[in-house]
């Protein structure tokens, strides 16, 4: 049986899903949810994004920080793969490039935990509609 039966249902679903995402974004508990998107197109994976993501998941568990990891498509910064976008609650997302395991640890321990900026920030150079 099809899950969505009409345009109205689709729109209702969108609203519901949007609020889900909002809930994720504007959580009441700012310490618990950090969102990290890992650019995982073929190029990112070839550059080691998958290992970095796995490593970060383990590390985040170890450090006891609540992080939501999401794989996403190509962000376009091929010169700096693997790239990740880190969104701490209440702050603008920041994109980091050339993330290997060591840099990942640094980002988690310095930027995510202590709000210290680390090197290798890529300016977002496009607008999305």
């Amino acid at each position: 049986m099809a899950k969505v039966k009409s345009l109205a249902e689709l729109k209702a679903m969108r609203e519901k899903l949007q609020s889900n995402l909002d809930l994720r974004e504007k959580s009441n508990d700012p310490d618990s949810l950090v969102q990290i998107k890992v650019a995982m197109a073929t190029c990112g994976i070839a550059a080691g994004a998958k290992q970095v993501m796995e490593h970060m998941m383990e590390k985040a568990d170890e450090l006891k920080i609540g992080v939501v990891f999401t794989q996403t498509g190509c962000m376009g910064y091929c010169h700096a793969e693997p790239t990740i976008e880190v969104k701490c609650p209440g702050k603008d997302p920041i994109v980091f490039g050339h993330v290997d395991n060591n840099r990942a640890d640094e980002i988690l321990t310095k930027y995510v935990m202590n709000n210290e900026m680390v090197d290798g920030v890529i300016p977002v150079n496009y607008e999305t509609i």
């Binding site: 049986m1 099809a2 899950k3 969505v4 039966k5 009409s6 345009l7 249902e9 689709l10 729109k11 679903m13 969108r14 899903l17 949007q18 889900n20 995402l21 998107k37 650019a39 995982m40 197109a41 073929t42 190029c43 994976i45 999401t70 794989q71 996403t72 498509g73 190509c74 962000m75 376009g76 910064y77 091929c78 010169h79 976008e85 702050k91 603008d92 490039g97 210290e116 900026m117 090197d119 290798g120 920030v121 890529i122 300016p123 977002v124 150079n125 496009y126 607008e127 999305t128 509609i129």
Partner: protein, 599 residues
Amino acid sequence: MHVLVCGGTGCQASASAQIIKNFEDILAAKGLQDEVQVVRTGCFGFCEKGPIVKIMPDNTFYTQVKPEDVEKIVNEHIIKGRKVTDLLYMDPENKEHVADSKHMGFYRKQLRIALRNCGFINPENIDECISRGGYEALGKVLSEMTPQQVVDEITKSGLRGRGGAGFPTGVKWGLCAKNKCDEMYVICNADEGDPGAFMDRSIMEGDPHSIVEAMAICGYAIGATHGLVYIRAEYPLAIHRLQVAIAQAREYGLLGKDILGSGFDFDIELRYGAGAFVCGEETALIHSMEGKRGEPTLKPPFPAVSGYMAKPSNVNNVETFANVPIIITKGADWFASIGSEKSKGTKVFALAGQINNVGLIEVPMGTTLRDIIYEIGGGIKGGRKFKAVQTGGPSGGCLTEKHLDTPIDYESLAAAGSMMGSGGMVVMDDTSCMVAIAKFYLEFTCEESCGKCSPCRIGNKRMLEILTKITEGRGTMDDLQELRNLAAVIKDTALCGLGQTSPNPVLSTLDNFWDEYVEHVVDKKCRAGVCKKLMRYEIDKEKCIGCGACKKNCPAEAISKTDYIAPGHKLPSMTIDPSKCIKCGACISTCKFSAISVK
């Protein structure tokens, strides 16, 4: 509060280290060191206006900051909260100061429409796609529009084929819709074959649902119920994500029977290609899907009349499809407001070569090559000199400095002797030899020529032989004329579009880099030092101390002793026999006295 100071090479060269120190000192003197954190960041990418200082959280972007400006920033901005206007970025057009980096030209140059969800959503989760408005365009056409209205809307938007040729998409749909038949097909051309191009792969990997949705919309518009994606088997991740997307869409009832209760049926199947360049040509692609050899056939009949299994079929490229849903939701007028007069919307480019910011970019049509290379691409690697930019892959051409202000659209690029192509863009500096580049593309064409028609099969081979002759120093001026003759014949007589455009890399380099060809032929010289056969290794007999290290290391035994002893030296100098030398360069790296050079 954070003060971000750019620590990229460009900004460091203009005293950003001193700026950081001044910030730290002044903040400490005012007892603010605990409240304000000074951070040395990586490059902001806007090196032209460096050093950059950014104040967070209000996102103020100061440009060309000098160490003595720091005190003013601390006193005015950090303590009193007032922006230091004269250090803000000034918009070159309206001479207004822009405080927020989001409104600066550099960051405004790119606009992501086809890539709207790439890098934003999880491509394997349909819910995230729906929360960004996915499938609403499909819902809209099914419940509010007639098929003809959909065709009209796409026609009105001015969307043109993104595979390279630039045929108006709406017109193509309209032609196909006229041929009513019990069985019709929507085909997505995902056989991205240009060397170095990865626009389509990125879209399929980052936002597969946009393709699924657009194919269903197209199906509704032309009256087809079957969709086929022809994708190369060497794109396993794109295949996987498309499969996941199709399965999820079926589960949600967005593919299959009676979509959204409208009575419209549509489903999609994947077909895998073995990665032949010619299969990107629509008739060859269709034959390959039918299980035949991937060879083109004459048009007409066009696929719109007799395509897959001799049924009317509509073939569009991945990027073309990716634009469709957003045109439906935002309207044709919105889309037509972006871009240049005859080319609407945006184009995705895979920016590669000797450029700082290699990447996947999307710019509005009409953006100049200069903006792409210097603003978005960040200029030439290592600060070298720009020489040429290749667009359009094996069917395109090389453009030079004089073309830098050419706006990117189908007509302007064609007029300049290149073409839009599917979106590969390779930037070259003065270390590239244009004859060798032309030869590279021709080698590719020869390898990938299907061999069905003789102009392409034999003509390109002959051209390659001539180019090889030239790069080996055996070329004559007659050869250059012969290249032009052959190119003209191939252009006029080859069977398919790929064959007809295959001489373009040679023709455009002949036009734009004639001197370099003549140099190869007459002076037997390659100014970029790429053509090995034209290089000569020489030992400076005055500098050579006769130690014999090069002789020991030479794998070809091309180095021997002379009778000459340079003044001040004790041993006779060495010499290289050019007939034995294999130009491996081993001697140069061994010589401790810089006595060996390449001529």
